[in-house]
């Protein structure tokens, strides 16, 4: 399984979807890190994520850390309630930069 990536207005948008668990989180990690290696601004769209476990969250944390180390932008957009509840539990909702949508991010300018 792989996850689609769309280039939109200078951003690479990684579209995670469905249930993210140990079975497909390595794919999520790969897609996120590959996007960060190609683009300076990466957003992960979680609007279609129905379930995420700690291995999926770990993929997001790896992206966050890679971006911070390499002075890149990394954020989450459209976080579903299922994903947000796990991020809140891990108190990562205070760590990640989260926007309701790419449009909201664009309103913030560069």
């Amino acid at each position: 399984m792989t996850f689609p990536v769309e280039d939109r207005q200078g951003f690479s948008v990684v579209m995670l979807n469905g249930e993210i668990d140990l079975n497909n989180s390595p794919d999520a990690r790969k897609v996120i890190l590959n996007s960060l290696k190609k683009m300076k601004h990466v957003m992960v769209d979680l609007s279609s994520v129905e379930y995420i476990d700690s291995s999926g969250v770990a993929s997001l944390v790896e992206g966050f850390q890679y971006a911070r180390t390499n002075d890149l932008e990394f954020g989450l957009i459209g976080v579903s309630e299922a994903a947000m509840s796990v991020l809140r539990l891990a108190r990562l909702d205070q760590v990640f930069t989260i926007y309701s949508s790419l449009d909201e991010r664009l309103e913030h300018g560069s």
Binding site: E19, D21, L22, N23, Y51, D53, S54, S55, V57, A58, S59, V61, E62, F64, Q65, E81, A82, S85, V86, R88, L89, A90, R91, L92, V95
Partner: protein
């Protein structure tokens, strides 16, 4: 299992691809037990995390291991026992990381502790392996710890 009603036991090999099946069975068991949606999702995530730990750490991603998950409904709680047949774990080594320590791994144990009311390893079986038990007290809707924090 002594006391309470045995709802289901599922046995599966230690492949990550089986976790989805596990979650489906756990959701049905929670529904049978009358848990509300937040408690169901809390229980499903906790059991998923426990089995993921077994796949990753106890069996070291070896897909030939066996995992048994049993669900028991007691009068005031749902009890889940997760059994593996790997080497007996050093319980002292199983701990969660500090949340301020932002790194990819180590969240699973924290999530289990946060989501379930009681959890811990039972006495190791005579024939080896480990049994990890989690308990979620059943409450009136709107009460208690749930996944929505």
């Amino acid at each position: 299992m002594e006391g309470g009603e045995h709802l289901v036991t599922i046995s599966f090999c230690s492949r990550a691809s089986r976790l989805r099946l596990l979650r489906s069975v756990m959701r049905d068991a929670a529904d049978l037990a009358g848990l509300d949606v937040p408690q169901t999702e809390a229980m499903v995530l906790a059991v998923n995390e426990a089995c993921m730990n077994i796949i990753q750490h106890a069996y070291g991603m070896d897909a030939d291991g066996k995992i048994d998950v049993s669900v028991l409904q007691e009068q005031d709680a749902l009890v889940v026992r997760v059994r593996d047949y790997a080497d007996t774990v050093d319980v002292e080594q199983v701990r969660s990381r500090e949340l301020d320590d932002i790194r990819p791994g180590g969240l699973g144990v924290y999530l289990i502790n946060s989501l379930m009311d009681e959890c811990g390893f039972l006495e190791p079986p005579d024939d080896g392996g480990n049994v990890f038990q989690m308990k979620l007290f059943t409450r009136e809707q709107g009460e208690g710890n749930d996944i929505s924090g």
